[in-house]
């Protein structure tokens, strides 16, 4: 395990520094090109640069290329290609708003390099009970997984710092779980995702200086899914992502169709006079995680983000328990 220490440290430093250094010039470029959107939860016309996806992708590619120099594994190539494809899909959506089906379908296509490069094991491992060998069904699972992880992270990107902060917690939880199940190489490969998210969070946290946009959120989510598949920890990864999954589940079960959030008429959240967030009583509005957090009464944006992080931490603990349960059989 000692031989993994150097690649782990070097890739994490490169991941963090690349994003930390590239975001400020990216903000300037985006501002100069008038690529900024209004922060709807702030007083006045506060404009925030978007998208931050290019900086996130740069951090991921730089660190994973370093890891490839050490490991030369097809899993790393598959993760890089799938993540880059997810970035392109998000970038297209950042530039031009596409229909509700575009992202899920395009992300399913982005998962194909994982299959083509054989960067998976078709045994699906469950806690306590062992694993099932599902060679054909697993291919469908790969396609679904990338689509789901990409879109769920994108769906939680609604408040300052929520998506990047959530990703910090979920990805570090996943890395810990990969170490627990003794998949050390993929654990090291997963670490840059947490450090990229952490560096981006510095600029994305309240008050945001940059938004990740669809390109950033899909990049983070797709990489998370690709790591889960390459590491054979799909169930653990799903557990660590549960708050985001709940958000998507609540949204879909209330809207009852796959639709772009910009096309929804009803607003789930509105503002009080002092600009705190408050759940609406709009019948047409979708039920979301934020709306349920606000059910107890109005909260500031920071308080809602903090509640999301607490849920992410709770899921992270459940994921770690699940990882320990993988080693126990009944």
């Amino acid at each position: 395990m000692i031989d993994l220490l150097i690649p782990a440290v070097v890739s994490c430093i490169i991941a963090f520094i690349t994003v930390y250094v590239t975001v400020p010039p990216l903000i300037k470029i985006l501002d100069k090109r008038n690529l900024a959107v209004r922060d709807v939860n702030k007083k006045g016309d506060i404009m925030v640069a978007r998208p931050g996806g290019p900086a996130i992708l740069a951090g991921i590619i730089a660190s994973e290329i370093v890891l490839y120099a050490f490991f030369q594994s097809s899993e790393i190539i598959a993760i890089i290609i799938t993540t880059s494809a997810a970035f392109l899909i998000g970038y297209v959506d950042d530039k031009r708003v596409m229909g509700g089906w575009f992202k899920p379908v395009a992300l399913a296509v982005a998962a194909l390099p994982i299959i083509a490069l054989g960067a998976y094991d078709s045994d699906l491992a469950f806690p306590l009970f062992g694993s099932v060998h599902i060679p054909i069904l697993y291919l469908a699972l790969i396609v679904l997984m990338i689509s789901i992880t990409g879109n769920t992270i994108n769906s939680i990107d609604v408040l300052n710092g929520a998506a990047s902060g959530f990703m910090v917690i979920a990805s570090f939880s996943l890395s810990i779980c990969l170490f627990i199940v003794q998949n050390y190489e993929i654990a090291v490969v997963s670490l840059p995702l947490g450090f990229v998210s952490l560096a981006f969070y510095k600029y994305h946290k309240l008050p945001s200086r940059i938004f990740p946009g669809d390109s950033g959120a899909l990049t983070l989510g797709a990489m998370y899914g690709a790591i889960a598949i390459a590491g054979g920890v799909e169930i653990i990864a799903a557990v660590a992502l549960l708050p985001a999954v709940i958000n998507s589940f609540l949204f879909l079960s209330s809207v009852k169709k796959i639709v772009e959030h910009r096309q929804i008429r009803g607003r789930p959240v509105e503002h009080t006079d002092d600009l705190r967030l408050k759940a609406t009583s709009d019948r047409d509005a979708p039920v979301t995680l934020v709306r349920l957090i606000l059910a107890g009464g109005p909260l500031s944006e920071g308080q809602v983000v903090s509640a999301i992080f607490k849920l992410a931490l709770f899921s992270g603990v459940l994921a770690v328990i699940t990882a320990f349960m993988m080693g126990v059989s009944v």
Partner: protein, 76 residues
């Protein structure tokens, strides 16, 4: 912290663990005989149908749980 959300998270986790148990203990070892060489294929089709039915059942359970846990919050 919102106890309803924590409870919902926990229940989802329990459903995942139980679903895994059903998949591994019951669905995994399931075989059919009497179909000759097609036996493996028939068993796979049955497993896939049962697995998909379980997914639908799990979603319905989650919807019921959601309505039960968040009945106050979801009331317009």
């Amino acid at each position: 912290m919102n106890l309803g959300l924590i409870g919902f998270l926990l229940l989802m986790w329990v459903l995942i663990v139980v679903g895994g148990g059903i998949a591994v203990m019951i669905l995994g070892p399931f075989t059919v005989s009497g179909f000759g060489k097609l036996g493996l294929f028939v068993a796979s089709v049955i497993k896939a149908i049962v697995a998909l039915s379980l997914v639908v059942l799990w979603i319905m359970i989650l919807l019921k749980l959601k309505n039960w846990i968040f009945k106050k919050e979801l009331r317009p």
